[in-house]
Structures are given as structure tokens and as C-alpha cells.
Amino acid sequence: MNTQAQSESQALTDTSEGMSYLNRLPRRLVVLYLPLAIFVFVLLFPFYWMTITAIKPNAQLTDYNNYSPFWVVGPTLAHIRYLFFETSYPGWLVNTMYVAVASTVLSIAASVFAAYAIERIRFTGARPVGLLIFLAYLVPPSILFIPLAYIVFKFGIYDSKLALIFTYPTFLIPFCTWLLMGYFRSIPFELEESALVDGASRWQILTKIILPLAVPGLISAGIFAFTLSWNEFIYALTFIQSSENKTVPVGVLTELVRGDIFEWGALMAGALFGSLPVVILYSFFVDYYVSSMTGAVKE
């Protein structure tokens, strides 16, 4: 982490002189700003479209000739009101929040111990176990959902939130452990040695020295795990039947889409409010987010 930050700042200061021939404005416009503008437009347009559809009155939704589709005259809250008061949507939001928080807490707790054991206790076989954890991260849910459905059924937790809370850690624990291993590695071993010499137990070292120093890592792992479980779809689709246990992605897709008449306004409002929690979380922790994403790739 430190070396990365150093080299980043070094690279940043280095750029100051850098490639000055690119600095002529017309060329910069064509080579940099125009492509960047197109990228940003394309990447953000679906969100704009989602938002504007969510507040458009039904009359304007499909009448492109009389109303410009890119703007809205007299925005309405009707779709949002319908979503929150006449569907099970609020319940789905609560479910998703509950499942995401529970599985994140569970995974972080298990990962802290596992990462500490692999990285610092250095037991026999720690290296292969670390590698196995990484390989576990590469096992995709689309291969696991059928046998998992079978197991979940056998355990008697089918169609309950527990089914999701227990299965989400399958992809969260490998990821969090891998990320935390990297963070623990960056904490100087000398700190731990001197604590050992002073007679601290492993438990004390972990709670009083390692964890306080690894707070940024814990935040990164936590928000990332939360987002992954918030966004999870295939397990929730397979293991949940009843409407009151559904998560937002599954609920919106299976219950708001009905028949041939699509209520686009309500659908887009559902998509918008289902995205907001992660987007808000993301906006507060952008840097943690980027570091956990790139950290997982780099290690």
C-alpha cells in the first residue's frame, strides 16, 4: 500500500514537465477531451435516462413528438409514491439491507481471523492456504447455485434470508481475506514482535495492534463486501420464493415486470432507489473503493 501510494505521488509530481508536446490546446481537445466527453456521456447516460423516466408523467413517457424525451415538463412523484406505498418495495429494501449487512459482518469477522492466521501466524501450509483462498474467489456463483440450492433446501433454510446470509460469504470471505492479507502484510512485523516480547497474547496483538492499524483495510473490505452482496442476484433469485423475503434486484425484476404493459416509470424508480444506497456509500468512500478494487487485482 505504502509503496503504491509513494509511486503514485511520485508519478504525479513527475508529470509536471512530462510530455509537453501534447499541451497544444487544439490537439488536447481532439485527443483527450472529446473522447473523454464521449466516454462520460455514454457511461452516465443510462443513469440519466433512469432518473428522468422515474419522474416523468405517464403521458410524456412515450410521446416523443410533443415532448422532448431528454427533458421533463412538470415532473411527478407518482411513480415513486406508487413504488413505496402500493408495492412490497420498501420490504425488499429492508431485506437487502439486512442480508447485505449481516453477510458483510459475518464475512469480515471470519476473514480477519483467517487473514491474520495466514499472514502472521505462519502455520505449516499457510502459503498453499492463501493460494486456495485466491482460487476460491475465482469460483463463479453461476457454477455453484444449483448444488447450493440443493444444500440450502436440505438445511431447511430455503426461502429464508438465512439462505442468503450463509451463501453470500462464499464469495465475500475469499475476497475480504485476500484483501486483508495485503493490508496485514503492510503492517511492520516489529510492532508485533515487541508486543510478543512484552507478553501480549495473540488475541491482544490482533485486537490492540493489528486491527486499529488495519482500519482502512477493514473499511475497504467492508464497503466492497456490502456492495457485492447488495448487487448479488443469482443466489437471491434461486433461493427465495416468497415476496416478503426478496431482495431489491430480484423483487423489481420478478414482481414489477408483469404482463405486456411495462410500467416503465415505476420500474425505473425501483432501479434508481435500489442503486442509491450503494452509490451514496460509494460517494463517501471513493478512494477506499478504488484501492480495494485495484488492490484485489494487484496482489
Binding site: 503504491q4 508519478a11 457511461l43 443513469f47 435516462w49 455453484l144 444449483i146 497474547s201 442503486s275 471513493v286
Partner: protein
């Protein structure tokens, strides 16, 4: 509590290291229990189910390779294999090209750089199913905003049937996948670009290298290891994609966009044929291993040749 009792004889470091194994076992236990119960065991069970005729609500019996023999003669299965390979190849290649381009742009000196970096990651943060719903609306056969804009610009005459014909549907789902994948590739590669010392570029330009040569002989070789990892992940996630297809087309029209993951779901859960679905899922594993090997070792070899360390 139990950790305390294990820690008792701590008069020398060597005994502590010996006790370490016991302690480590204890520390590994929660993660290990979860991963064995819900990852290793299901993986094995999935392979086993592939050899049985299990249905929902009925225990299956061992039927050997029957599922695989049936799949081998099933045109829809082979179509899904073709679709998956097409989807993965095209989407990954375009994601890589555009992602690298965007990363190179963001690596330049720009105003509001961190702001741009933040908003560019948005498609990746938002739940796929929900952004796919937005794409569904954008791809609407009658009221697509893309069709409307193109008609207004006079480029086409009638609305495009985005999800209605096989090739249009394929192009549409691939586009949506690329849209969602670019941020991941771009931001990861950007992190790699920022570790390349600027002095190398300066030295190369002093020697008269053009910007293309600097890219080809400085940036690309330095970036290769991270490209390998990023693309391995990208290929892996694209190959096993499920959500986008499930929202946009559910495999249609006439199975033209069925991926192996969606076909496996359709046969296993609504169709009730758990055994057959599991066999399709298991059939994905060799492809996945091949893809991982290819992108990982194929790209990483250069780094070894240069005598770098991993």
C-alpha cells in the same frame, strides 16, 4: 478464551511458533467451515449432480455420462457454448481496448481528474440487474431513445428492433456488458499506469521515440502483468455472466443469446432438471480453466522473460 489457554507457555519464541499451528487452526476455523460447507462441498456436489438425474423434489440416481451424452446431441447446448464464446471474446476484447484507452486518457493531466475517475466507476458500482433494466428500457422495440435519436438525425427510417432478432440481440447484450465492464478495466489499468515512472517516457522521447513507440515499447511492456490479471478477471466474469442476459432477453430470441449460465439456470430451476443443469455448469469449468491459463500464463510469460519477479 481458548486462545488464552493455548498461549500459556510463551517463554520462548520457538514454542510459540509450534503452538502457532494449533492457534492458526482455531483462527482459520470460521472461514474454513463456511468455505467448506458452502463452496468446496457444493463444487463437489455439483460435479456429482451432473452424473445423476436429480430433479427438483426427487432424489436422483447415478446415470453416468447420460447427461453429457444428451447435451452433446443437444443443439441448444452447443448454441449456448457458441454464444458464450462469442460473448466473452467480443466483449472482453472491446472492454480491453476501450478500457485501456480510457485509462490512458485519465492518466494525462486533466482538470477534475479524481471527479472523473469517481463518476466513471459508477456503472460498475450500481447493481447489474438495475442498470440492465435501464438498458432494457433503452432497447425498447417501440420507444427506444437510441432509435428515436437516430431517426431524428436521419440515419435510420424505422426503430431498431434491438432485442428482437438474433444478431441484434447479441450485439445489444454485448454492448450492455461492455458498458458495465469498461470502468473496471479502465480504473484497474489506470492504477497500473500510475506506477510506470515518468522518467522512462522522458528517456524514450529524448531518444526520439514517437508517442506510438513510447506506448508500444514502454507503457505496454510495463503494464503487461496487470493487464494479465485484469483480463483474467474480466474474462472470468464475462464468461459466467448471468444477470444481464436474464434481464434483457432471458436467452431469447430463439435461444440466440442463451449463455451456458442462463441455460443451466433455465434447465435446472424453472425446468426442474437439476442434474442436467449441473452438467451444463460443470461443462463451463474446462473453458474457464483454459481462459484463466491462457490470459494468465500467456500474458505473464513476458514478465518472466524480462527477469522480473512476481
Amino acid at each position: 478464551m481458548s486462545t488464552m489457554s493455548i498461549e500459556k507457555p510463551r517463554f520462548s519464541l520457538s514454542t510459540l511458533m509450534q503452538n502457532g499451528n494449533m492457534l492458526a487452526l482455531l483462527f482459520m476455523l470460521p472461514a474454513a467451515v463456511f468455505l467448506i460447507c458452502f463452496l468446496t462441498y457444493p463444487l463437489g456436489l455439483g460435479v456429482w449432480l451432473g452424473f445423476t438425474d436429480t430433479r427438483i423434489g426427487r432424489e436422483g440416481i447415478f446415470i453416468g455420462l447420460d447427461n453429457y451424452q444428451y447435451l452433446a446431441s443437444d443443439g441448444v447446448f452447443w448454441l449456448s457454448v457458441f454464444n458464450t464464446l462469442l460473448y466473452t471474446t467480443v466483449a472482453s476484447a472491446v472492454k480491453f481496448a476501450l478500457g485501456l484507452w480510457l485509462a490512458l486518457i485519465l492518466n494525462e493531466k486533466l482538470p477534475f481528474k479524481s471527479f472523473f475517475r469517481a463518476i466513471i466507476l459508477l456503472p460498475w458500482v450500481v447493481p447489474t440487474v438495475l442498470s440492465a433494466l435501464a438498458f432494457w428500457w433503452i432497447y425498447d422495440a417501440q420507444f427506444s431513445i437510441v432509435s428515436w435519436s437516430l431517426i431524428q438525425l436521419g440515419i435510420i427510417d424505422s426503430p431498431i428492433n434491438f432485442l428482437g432478432t438474433p444478431n441484434n440481440a447479441r450485439a445489444s447484450v454485448i454492448t450492455a456488458n461492455i458498458w458495465r465492464g469498461i470502468p473496471f478495466v479502465a480504473i484497474s489499468l489506470l492504477a497500473g499506469l500510475q506506477t510506470i515512472p515518468q522518467s522512462l517516457h522522458e528517456a524514450a522521447s529524448l531518444d526520439g521515440a514517437t508517442s506510438w513507440q513510447r506506448f508500444r515499447y514502454v507503457t505496454l511492456p510495463m503494464l503487461t502483468p496487470i493487464i494479465a490479471v485484469v483480463m483474467t478477471f474480466s474474462v472470468l466474469f464475462t464468461f459466467t455472466d448471468f444477470q444481464l442476459i436474464y434481464v434483457l432477453t432471458k436467452g431469447g430470441p430463439v435461444n440466440a443469446t442463451h449463455l451456458m449460465a442462463t441455460l443451466s439456470f433455465q434447465r435446472a430451476i424453472p425446468g426442474g432438471q437439476l442434474g442436467e443443469g449441473a452438467a451444463i455448469a460443470v461443462a463451463m469449468i474446462p473453458f474457464l480453466l483454459a481462459a484463466i491459463m491462457f490470459s494468465f500464463f500467456g500474458l505473464q510469460r513476458r514478465k518472466w522473460q524480462q527477469g522480473g519477479q512476481d
